[in-house]
Every structure is written in structure tokens, then in C-alpha cells.
Symmetry: C2
Subunit: 341 residues, 2 copies
Amino acid sequence: MKERAVTIYDISKQAGVSIATVSRVLNGSENVSEATRQKVLAAMEESGYTPNAFARGLGLNTMKTIGIMAADSSDLYLAKGIYYLEQLLRNEGYDCLLCCTGYTLANRIASMNLLLTKKVDGIILVGSNFIYENEEDNKYIYDAAAQVPVMLLNAALDAPNVYCITSDDYTSVFNATTKLIEQGISEILYLYNSHSYSGKRKEAGFRDAMKNAGIKLKEDSLLFYKGAREDVGAVTAQLESHWDKGHHFKAVIASDDTLAISALKFAYRKNLQIPEDLAVIGYNNSFLAECVTPELSSIDNRLETLCQTLTSTLMGVLGGNEMPKQTVFAGELISRATTPA
Amino acid sequence: MKERAVTIYDISKQAGVSIATVSRVLNGSENVSEATRQKVLAAMEESGYTPNAFARGLGLNTMKTIGIMAADSSDLYLAKGIYYLEQLLRNEGYDCLLCCTGYTLANRIASMNLLLTKKVDGIILVGSNFIYENEEDNKYIYDAAAQVPVMLLNAALDAPNVYCITSDDYTSVFNATTKLIEQGISEILYLYNSHSYSGKRKEAGFRDAMKNAGIKLKEDSLLFYKGAREDVGAVTAQLESHWDKGHHFKAVIASDDTLAISALKFAYRKNLQIPEDLAVIGYNNSFLAECVTPELSSIDNRLETLCQTLTSTLMGVLGGNEMPKQTVFAGELISRATTPA
DNA sequence: TTTTCCAATGTAAGGGCTTGCATTCTTTTG
DNA sequence: CAAAAGAATGCAAGCCCTTACATTGGAAAA
């Protein structure tokens, strides 16, 4: 299959210059006369030369690759983030090594090492679940950051060489909750399934909004689902069982669109009118929101903006510039048909 | 940031052996006595040695990386495929370089070259849209296949070093259509938005099933939507306009779940009961199908099986074995609430 | 014209690892 | 017990680039 490849030596011979000169035009060095540059380029063109990435890597100690870690690249939201990042990084001349880690720490440590072994120039952690409550569990991030910049999307961690781009989840949920209350709906159920960094921020936003409105928060106003949120049937069932135990509510704010979908299904089963009997607000404003009927109101956390900022910050860091350690963007409730006008 | 890394020389010194021996234990060579192996491993462990991937690549001419190309990694179906592949390949010790190419040929050629430059060991094209009608446009695939094995998921192309794993889309749609007809529904609209390899197979399945049942196919029985299928609103509008022109139907078979979602929305707007007034069948059996109400009947093309087979075939090829050039699996209609029982 | 200086180019020393071949030492065989 | 075979290890030549430093030649300065 692979015959001996064309090397820099072949080009140097063909163009009648030294390999150093060839290397210089390869790397866009200034100190090459236009005439030689053309000669070399012609030779490359003619023989279909492609520099050997490994040798290049050895010399430059980089292969222009960024590692992207996500728990599950098929999650609607994470997939979108990965997509944006890949596009943006490619524009900057970087390739992406993708690592789906699942949710266990052991896997994450392994993946992290893998990426480091492959000499990526930076690592992006997509999703807030990469930060652990137990400070020791975050060691794998600190270790990685000792070697390459680590970017967190939707999570925050104060450490050297770690940069965080987040959405202001707290305020988004606070505002959404407040808005519902102002519309006269105060029996709100907060449905969530993660204690991640942003998960806790969202929850806090809910609690504070309720408190702020002077509504005493019963503990049955929060429902935690401990399984995979993609298991729509199970989440729906849990909502039903909650309701059937006498915990009624007039609205659901979910920490994720997928969970909100279950709330919609729940309403359908219970024959509740949306939004009259039950208002529903999701989070992430994913494609799902437009797919369901009635269309789901959802909090948009401006994923594309986050990704753009993350990328430019990373590029800045790699370029040796001082960059902000944390950047926060405001979210926004997109009102559709599951909330009162 | 980066202090001088531990190299094979350090280990060799520390263990009191030659670097050749260290390299041998690194590569699991047979000819090393157990005692030395242990000594070396201990030294590695102690000094936290990580072999330099570039140097390794230079020597071995591989970095155990597979390139994955997909038009859009955030597409629900493609994302799932990428996810499966990434997991499977990782299990085999390979990393994945992800390339989202969009739908233009120029981008694809560029991406392909990029992957080849980075010396991937194989390339996987996820999605049937990588094959072009115009034979010349497929040159980029042949070129790539001249260097590394190319795997096609859901597409077929007969060429050296190209391996295809597909679902029998033709039969799946043929059967689904036939089943509807047997249930007494013969006014069926086939809704599609792609002329890709599998797109054409599906369409043929529909046409043949109708013909086979002796139903004369009016050309208004097929509706092609030329934009992005994610634009649910636009697809819905086009369905409405089609209907309003007098082209009525009692069922929709869509070439993709996302399109089917639009059919559901259309029914809702027209106040058609599902499945009594309108039956709907999607394709891919994606997560979307379970999210909507009523839940969508959809053709499952066994993506996970396809990915497994693709991976094992690729591993076989890389291992120098003769492997089947084309593997086809049967699909299956998953009946949910949008089709009559 | 001679001296400086600088742009353009070449020389050669790595960068860290793999591997064919040579060498040494241990076993087996006759 | 000598000779042959085999196992374990070392030597050194790559693999293909990058780049600090040396060299050259011509233009600018004196």
C-alpha cells in the first residue's frame, strides 16, 4: 500500500537547495528569497509532497491538535458543543481528538492520560460534570493543566492554567422562576438529575427565586431523578408517582430539555393542559424544544457564544497571551408554547 | 510549563540496560527476560515515564488514530454513530480524530487531506452523503483509499481498500410501505430530503412497494424538501402547502425522523388524528422518536450493530486480514403510536 | 575601493524511538 | 566436553524534520 514517501530530501534535491531551506518555506520563515520559495513550492507541488506529521511533531513538539472530552458525544447538547468547537478549532488550524469518557472518574483519568500521551496542545472538557465535589477527585484536571491549558465549558474551577467559560445558570433559572411567579404560578417543581457544577448553580437559582418571592419552599418542590435522563419513560413515571403521592404543581422547571420532555409526557398522561394546567420550562434550548408539540419554552445558554469565546481564549493562551480565567455569559429564556404568554 | 521530559534514555540508565531493551519492553517484544522487564517497568513507574508519541510515530509510522468524517456531528443520528465508533475504537486502542465537513465537496477534500497528513491509520465516513452521483467527485475517496483503508457507514462504493457497512434501507422501506398498504392505507406520501446513496435506496423501496401492491404512483406521492431537515417549521409549511394544493394523503413515510417530526406538527396544525387520519413512519429510530407525543414509529437500522461490524472489519483490515468488502444488515420497523396497531 | 552589515542559504546536531544485525552468554546436543 | 543452537542484550543506523550557528555574497556605508 504505502510506497516510500516523498521526503524533504527529495524536495531539496529537486529544487537544488538544502533541506533547511525547504523546511523554512514549509514553516513560512521570512528569510527565504521569493525566487527560492517558488522553486521549492513548485518541487513540492510536482512531487505531491506531504510533510511527515510525526517528524514535524518531534521537531516542533506539537501537532496542532486539541483534545475534546465529553461524557457522551451523542447527548444533544454536548454534541452541539462539540460540533461548534470542532468547526472553530479547525478554522484556527487545529484538529480535534475526541474522547467520550462516560461518567466515571477512572475513565476520565484514563482518557486524560491518553490525550496527554498523544501530545495535544490543549484539552477542552465539555460539560459541567467533569468537576467533582470532592476536591481530590479533580486532581486529574490539575495534573493535566500542569502540562497543557485546560478549558472548561460550563464549569468553573480555580486553578493555574485552567480557563472557564460558563453561562450564568444561576441567574437564568432565578429569572425564569421569578417570571413564572409573577405570572401567578407559584407551585413550581424543580426537576433535575445532576449535582454538577452548573446543576448546583441552577438549583440555587430556583431556591433563591422562591425565597426572594417569599414562597416557602417545601422539599417536595424539588425532584431529583437519579438515572439517565434519556430514559424518558422512567422520568415520566417518577413524575407520576410524585404527583400521585399528593405533591401537585402547576409548573415544572427542568435542568435539561430532555427532562422537560418527560414533564410534557407526564402532562399528556395526566391529561393536563399546557400551559394552563402545567407550564414547563426546559434548559439548553436544544433542537428537541422545537420538535415537540407544544413547543418547549427553554433557557438558552448561548452555547455558540460560549464555544467561540472558549476557542478564542484557548488560542490566546496558546499564543502566550494573558487571558481571563473565567468568562460568564448571561442566558435567556426562550418563550414558546409551554409557558403562559 | 514543560520541563524536559523523561526519555527512554533516562529509563535505560536507571534500569541499567540499553535503550533497545527499554524499547522492547515498551513494545511487548518476546525477547526480554522477565527479570529485566520488571526492572525496566519499575524504572518507568518510578520516574513517571511516558513515551513520546511523535518519536514513536516516526519509528512505527502510526499513532493508532482513526479519522472520522461526518457532515455534522450534531445531527442526532450521526452523533450517535460517532459515539458508538469512538467507544469501539477506543477499546481497540485507537483514538479518533473528528472532522465535521459540512456538505460541500471542497471541504471534504480538504478534510480528507488533513486526516491523511496527520497519518491516521484509517478513515471512516459516517453517513451516506459522502458518495456523489458524479463518479469523478468520488475521486477523493479513491485517493484516500490508496493510502489507508476507508470505511463507509451507510453507503456503498466498489473500490479497492474501501469497505462498506450498510443497512438494507431498500427492504426496510419496502416492508414498512407494504405493511401500511396491508393495513388498508394506500395514500402514502414519501417525504425525503436527500438523494444520497441510502436516500435513493429508500426511495426505491417505497416506489417498488407501491408498484408491487398494484398502486399507481402519482408523482405527488413523493415530496422532496430541499433545505435542511432541521428546519422543522419550513418542512411543516411545505407539507401544508402540498396538502392545500389538494394532494391529500393518509400516511407519511419520512426518510428521517426529523422529517417525520414535521409531519407530526403538520397533523397537529391540520387537526388530523394520529394514526387514524394520518399515520407517520420515521427513519433511524433516534431518540427523537421517544420524545414526541404520540411516540413515533420508526425504522431502526441497527446503528450499533453497524458500528460494531465496521470497527471489527477495520481492525481486521489493519491486521492484514482479508475482510468482506460489503456487509449489509436488515432493518426493522419499530411500531409505536403513530401507526395503526 | 574597502569595510560593515544583513539577507539568504547551508551545515550539522539533535528530537525520542524502532529495529536489523552483531555480540554475549546460556543451553542443548552428539 | 566441544560444538552448535538459541535466548538475551547491545550497538548504531535510521525515521523526517527543525533550528542554532556558520557561511556566503552582495548591498550599503565609509
